[in-house]
């Protein structure tokens, strides 16, 4: 196996185009597990770890935080992300253990694109934009178009995810994840809720309860149509409960060895209603 340690993005992009079976490796916390289990057998690995441009957090445009695909979770847990996109920090804190958070990245979470990926519901709730580069082109794809199924995305072989743009939203946001132990656990069901006070909307996205992350558009619309969602509004227990039920109705969970569909659906309704109450406390 050849390992190409790229220092520049173009080196990595060139190598990627030259080797049809090459795999990108950032933190390796997904890929090395796959390799150890023999699920993938790359002959070429392209390490992105030394590419500084992928490890920056920028605020180029107002109201937007752009996070490099290689920024590890341990950095995302802290400022400036903690204040600008608190739900992302919370999601980052739920990932694995300190060792995993020191290595794992948004690029890897997107590269794997599992419905249990903890940062993906945050991206869905915030309408994040994914920057993809090839040697001679670049494009920006909405997260809603990026993820197409269980571990499937529109990323082409020769594309590298360089950064993710997150709008900075005025209002409350939070991420909750249910697992069967109190830390380092794969999500059984998760929810990200963003209350956008300026636009008086609430956005909610669900993880681990369908083949992709699920944005609950109907529940969002019902809430907006029936309730004031501007800053200072209040949400009753009944409204929150109804919202939770509606969000759960949009999920499509399955039974597996980690949990049951019935529990997952129930957990979503609880998480959604709790997050909504918290957002308007």
């Amino acid at each position: 196996m050849t390992v190409i340690v790229a220092k520049e993005l173009t080196t990595a992009l060139t190598a990627l185009r030259e080797h049809a079976d090459a795999r990108l490796i950032q933190g390796g916390t997904d890929l090395m597990v796959e390799i150890n289990f023999n699920h993938v057998k790359p002959t070429t690995m392209i390490s992105l770890r030394d590419i500084d441009s992928l490890r920056t957090i920028r605020r180029d445009q107002p109201g937007m935080l752009s996070i490099g695909s290689g920024v590890p979770y341990s950095i995302i847990e802290e400022e400036p992300v903690l204040s600008d996109i608190p739900a992302l920090s919370q999601a980052a804190r739920t990932v694995g253990s300190p060792q995993i958070r020191a290595a794992g990245s948004l690029g890897g979470n997107l590269g794997t694109c599992s419905p249990a990926g903890d940062t993906l519901p945050v991206m869905f709730a915030l309408d994040a934009m994914i920057h993809l580069n090839t040697l001679d082109s670049s494009r920006v794809v909405s997260i809603h178009d990026f993820m197409t199924g269980v571990k499937r995305s529109v990323r082409q072989h020769d594309e590298i995810i360089t950064s993710i743009d997150f709008p900075i939203v005025k209002g409350w946001q939070g991420y909750s994840k249910v697992g069967v132990r109190n830390a380092m656990v794969i999500s059984v069901a998760s929810t990200c809720l963003v209350a956008d006070h300026e636009n008086a909307t609430v956005r909610i996205a669900l993880g681990s309860v369908g083949p992709t992350i699920i944005r609950c558009r109907e529940a969002e619309a019902w809430l907006k149509a029936n309730h004031d969602l501007s800053a200072g509004a209040s949400i009753s227990l009944d409204i929150a409960g109804e919202f939770g039920k509606r969000a759960a109705a949009e999920s499509s969970p399955i039974d597996d060895h980690r949990s049951t569909a019935a529990y997952r659906r129930h957990a979503i309704s609880v998480l959604a209603s709790r997050l909504l109450r918290k957002a308007y406390q």
Binding site: N38, Y175, K177, R181, N182
Partner: protein, 756 residues
């Protein structure tokens, strides 16, 4: 008052917190585990396993695999020169399956090659044609006889009844329940590993292996290899935990066979996934219990039926069954009982020893029952347990008289006296709530519950087994060296043995010789027995050496040796002024003595389950405080208070380590640890999906050691390894029930069991 003072470090004798000799190495990562071993010219071995729980092997074709460059040899059942099966109690498990595979993961062949990756590719090239059969997975089908035998020995491994006292008596209070215990894994961190080095003449070999019992391995290996035991040496490799999972043979025979066939050293080590298939687990069980009690809640009679799923092969199922049913009553007086117990064979993974050995299952049932009696008579969990608490001299349901020190009531009252944790304040760290880092709850969603569990656990081996341990002590120039075959699996015998030698002989420097089969057996590091058994052997050997030293000194200085004693590091005359350091006294001489410690004889049970089958017992109480999120079904164990009957504390640091570790393991069984089976297939053979408690799940432990010297024990100390993990599980479940007001009879408790 600035005064210089001489600080002397306390000597690492019994009673002090001597540090583990391997502690720093383990923390720093420099400890050599068996999987770190290496030999010149070594090849790697790997095992081909059945993907099916039950299938007939039609053919095995190894030709393509053998043709792969780098592959040295492949072995199957045809290559086993000696006995084709092994087993701790009944030799019914094939070294390699030849006609049928009876569980998912059963070994079918093994390969030796130049690299682990070559091994893996070779395994993929072995073609096994199976005729897949419908597996027997329901233990009741095994009992009912409704399934054709899946093994020549039949589908019932053992059936035993206990019939005691008045069979028709009842009381005004009758409570019952059917309790279900899931399959727990020992989940030791140091995976199975061995290095086999063939002798140059090819007629014998040296096996370095991570095991719980070198001599039992030796016996089974020698039979399968058809080599005399003298031709095989076993040395203990660095072991990273055991908890019962290293009592049975796993890779030992395969590794030796490959080494002999290849004529080169063979290293084998399992991955985590393979480990789930490579060792036995804790028996899943279904236990029905009905307690009859008087109006005060005193137990009048217990009816019980136990079904232990032993999986495909016998392993230690017969002994686990006996342990389970003989602990039906728990640490309570009971004069009348009707107990029916089965250990059955199914196409599930073989189950065997795990910390608590059958008593864990029984305890979950009897403690759940005690709480039901308490509710029925309007008493508290503490009151009901105190009313029924057993004392020394009470007869058990087997007719055996409780001869051990039995401070059951004290365990309960001293646990009860431990302050409860502070109530949750207005502001809490959200990470400490149920759901932890998932931030699923606020303080207002949480309810707190308190629950109790008390247990009795037999120590050492039972049912007439001649259980002994051997040790040798050599004293020379003020230095003692100790030789024994006691497996150090993390429990701390390598810390304790030198403490014993220092205490008995007055030496400071103690050398531990290699742990291997060049001395008599030490028995297994299991059944909470090594401190008692190997500790007794080391103590005995050191005492014999001391006696000879006193003779030597007495003769030299014309003092009656009977007047000599050890004081610190000196030999002194009790009635005179003579004082001589042990170092001087032993200068230029070498005294060596070997001692075998046997525990008292036990008996087999008769057809009615009567007989003095156990050696000794230990007791413990646990009180759990849990926070529950009833809506999401998530749990955080806040505090475990415990008072444990330990006899005597020999090393406080080691002792608390056993208690805290056991509590974490019992917590795991209560709320998360389970091997999930579906139609004979393991669904979660990884630490991604087999969940163990993390630091955020571990509770505060407040422990009291109850020190009532046990006269039967050589050092006055009872075994303390198993009790911590037994009653903590029912205590946690009781606390969950207390918090949510719902009956739960299955462990581990899953979120949906709480909230749906």
């Amino acid at each position: 008052m600035a005064k210089s003072s001489v600080v002397t470090k306390p000597r690492d004798i019994l009673g002090n917190s001597a540090l583990r000799p391997d502690g720093a190495h383990k923390v720093q990562g420099s400890f050599e585990f068996t999987s770190d071993l290496h030999a010149e010219n070594m090849l790697w071995g790997a095992t081909l396993r059945s993907p099916h729980p039950y299938a007939k092997i039609m053919s095995i074709d190894t030709s393509a695999a053998l043709a792969l460059p780098g592959v040295h040899c492949i072995i199957t059942a045809d290559d086993v020169p000696g006995k084709s099966t092994y087993g701790l109690i009944s030799s019914d498990q094939p070294v390699f399956a030849s006609d049928y595979v009876r569980y998912m993961g059963e070994p079918v062949a093994a390969v030796a090659a130049d690299h682990p990756e070559t091994c893996r590719r070779a395994l993929a090239l072995i073609v096994v044609v199976y005729e897949v059969l419908a597996p027997l997975t329901n233990p009741e089908d095994a009992i009912a006889g409704s399934f054709d035998p899946i093994h020549p020995d039949g589908n019932v491994i053992r059936h035993q009844r206990i019939v005691r006292g008045d069979q028709n008596i009842s009381g005004p209070i009758v409570v019952e329940g059917e309790y279900v215990i899931g399959m727990q894994d020992q989940a030791f961190l140091g995976l199975e590993a061995a290095l086999a080095i063939p002798d140059p003449d090819g007629l014998g070999l040296h096996l370095h292996v991570a095991t719980q019992w070198l001599h039992e391995d030796l016996t089974q290996i020698s039979a399968c290899l058809s080599l005399p035991a003298e031709k095989i040496r076993l040395t203990l490799g660095g072991v990273g935990g055991a908890f019962g999972a290293r009592e049975d043979i796993s890779l030992q025979v395969h590794c030796c066979l490959l080494a002999l066939k290849a004529g080169r050293p063979i290293k084998m080590q399992y991955s985590r996934e393979e480990s789930f298939f490579g060792h036995v687990h804790r028996h899943p069980a279904t236990i029905f219990m009905r307690h009859h009690a008087d109006a005060n809640g005193k137990i009048v009679k217990i009816d019980a039926r136990f079904v232990f799923d032993g999986g495909a092969y016998t392993s230690t199922s017969p002994a686990v069954l006996i342990n389970g049913i003989t602990h039906t009553q728990g640490p309570y007086k009971c004069d009348n009982a009707t107990v029916d117990g089965y250990a059955v064979r199914t196409n599930n993974p073989p189950c065997g020893a795990m910390r608590g050995f059958g008593v864990v299952q029984a305890c979950f049932a009897h403690e759940s029952q005690m709480d039901k009696i308490a509710v029925a008579v309007g008493k508290s969990p503490v009151e009901i347990r105190l009313i029924n608490a057993m004392v020394t001299g009470d007869p058990l349901i087997t007719g055996q008289i409780m001869e051990s020190v039995a401070p059951v009531a004290r365990c309960i009252t001293e646990t009860d006296a431990i302050p409860l944790p502070a109530l949750m304040g207005e502001t809490v760290n959200e990470l400490s709530l149920p759901g932890g880092s998932g931030l699923t709850a606020s303080r207002s969603h949480i309810v707190r519950g308190i629950g109790w569990g008390v247990s009795m656990k037999n120590l050492m081996y039972s049912e007439g087994f001649d259980d002994f341990a051997t040790a040798r002590c050599t004293l020379k120039d003020g230095v003692a060296s100790l030789k024994f075959a006691t497996s150090e699996v993390g429990q701390g015998f390598v810390t304790l043995a030198p403490q014993i030698a220092r205490s008995v002989l007055g030496v400071d420097e103690v050398i531990l010789e290699p742990i291997d089969t060049q001395i008599g057996s030490a028995g297994s590091t299991s059944a909470s027995r090594q401190t008692w058994m190997s500790g007794g052997a080391v103590d005995g050997a050191c005492r014999l050496v001391r006696e000879r030293l006193f003779h030597h000194v007495g003769k030299q200085h014309s003092i009656d040796p009977l007047r000599l004693v050890i004081d610190g590091t000196d030999v002194i005359d009790q009635v005179g002024t003579f004082r001589y350091s042990v170092a001087e006294a032993s200068e230029g001489i070498e005294i060596s003595e070997t001692f075998e410690h046997h525990h008292r004889a036990t008996e087999e049970l008769d057809a009615n389950g009567q007989g003095n089958c156990h050696t000794a017992f230990a007791f413990v109480a646990h009180r759990a405080v849990v926070d529950v999120d009833p809506e999401l079904g998530l749990v955080k164990v806040v505090q475990i208070a415990t008072a444990q009957d330990v006899g005597r504390v020999l090393n406080p640091l080691s002792a608390i380590g056993q208690l805290e570790g056991g509590i974490a393991q019992g917590l795991g069984l209560a709320v998360m640890e389970e091997i999930i089976m579906q139609n004979g297939k393991v669904r979660n053979p990884s630490f991604t999906d087999y969940l163990l408690p993390t630091a955020l799940d571990a509770p505060d432990v407040v422990a009291v050691m109850i020190e009532e010297y046990e006269p039967q024990a050589p050092l006055g100390a009872k075994g303390i390894g198993e009790p911590p993990c037994i009653s903590v599980t029912p205590a946690i479940v009781a606390a969950i029930r207390n918090a949510i007001g719902k009956n739960i009879e299955r462990i581990p408790v899953r979120p949906q069991d709480i909230c749906l």
